[in-house]
């Protein structure tokens, strides 16, 4: 590889897409989510082991990093870059018409996040928040070094709703994680995966996939 290889990019030809704290957040969340899925579903599928301790510890880690992410997204990051706006809807409509072979204007390039990434983010955010809230409530039912169990906070029927919500959201997480990993390993999306590993995309990738008027990361911030 030469230093001018456009696929790798020189240090002065890189555009920062994800800063180190955000990448650490992402991979910590990924590790805790995979640990939670494994400890939740392996026993259901027949692999019996003492799963509760590992499950609640991974759940507390997930809750902590989600709080970190929310605070960081609101206070330090461009929160609005993840919001779905009129341009996203218009460009999705144009892309759909183009896919169906109809004539019309081409969709504009997105800002930092294209619409599918935004929709995925909000879907997984809603599900993970529901999992965190119901999971934290379920901690009332187990003894830990920090507290004693007290299952009488809620009635049986309320516990049933809490468990059913947790179960359904956990199973939906499998679907979303499958889709996420699929896109992460697709060769045409690997430039995004690399940005979550190493933090940057090349300037060529930036100009090919993003509208500089909608995302100008010149200050190194997201």
């Amino acid at each position: 590889m030469t230093r001018s290889d456009p696929k790798r990019g020189r240090a002065d030809d890189r555009v920062v897409r994800h800063l180190l704290p955000d990448r650490l957040y992402h991979w910590t969340m990924a590790a805790s989510a995979l640990a939670l899925l494994f400890t939740a579903f392996a026993p259901i599928l027949g692999w019996k082991f003492e799963w509760v301790t590992a499950h609640w510890i991974a759940g507390v880690v997930l809750a902590a990093v989600v709080v970190f992410h929310i605070v960081r997204a609101v206070a330090w990051q461009d929160f609005w870059s993840m919001m779905v706006g009129f341009q996203d809807i218009r460009d999705a409509w144009r892309a759909m018409r183009q896919t169906l072979g109809q004539v019309g204007p081409s969709p504009d390039k997105p800002g930092k996040y294209p619409l599918p990434q935004k929709l995925y983010h909000w879907a997984i955010a809603a599900i993970v928040l529901a999992l965190v809230v119901t999971g934290l409530l379920m901690l009332l039912k187990i003894d830990t070094p920090f507290w004693r169990r007290n299952p009488y906070w809620f009635s049986d029927s309320t516990w049933g709703v809490i468990y059913a919500t947790h179960d359904l959201c956990a199973m939906a997480t499998i679907t979303l994680v499958m889709v996420h990993i699929y896109f992460a390993v697709r060769p045409d999306k690997f430039w995004i995966t690399r940005s979550m590993l190493r933090g940057w995309i090349t300037r060529q990738e930036y100009l090919s996939h993003h509208d500089p008027k909608r995302w100008a990361p010149s200050d190194g911030q997201s």
Partner: protein, 61 residues
């Protein structure tokens, strides 16, 4: 197929326990179906290369 798991409590009442684990395979299937459909969509939508070979300066195809 049941959507939820139920049990009978000490008072003989039926109480909700949680979601049915039978649904697990539907969620896995939904993820698999999305992936297969997207692979097909991406293959169909991929820009086609021009069919005719380009002539080189020396006249070879």
């Amino acid at each position: 197929m049941d959507l939820f798991r139920y049990a009978t409590n000490a008072y003989g009442q039926e109480v909700l326990l949680g979601a049915s684990w039978d649904l697990l395979w539907w969620f896995i299937g939904a993820g698999g179906a999305f992936i297969v459909l997207h692979i097909i969509y991406a293959a169909v939508r991929r820009p086609k290369r021009t069919g005719a070979p380009q002539m080189r300066a020396g006249g070879n195809a």
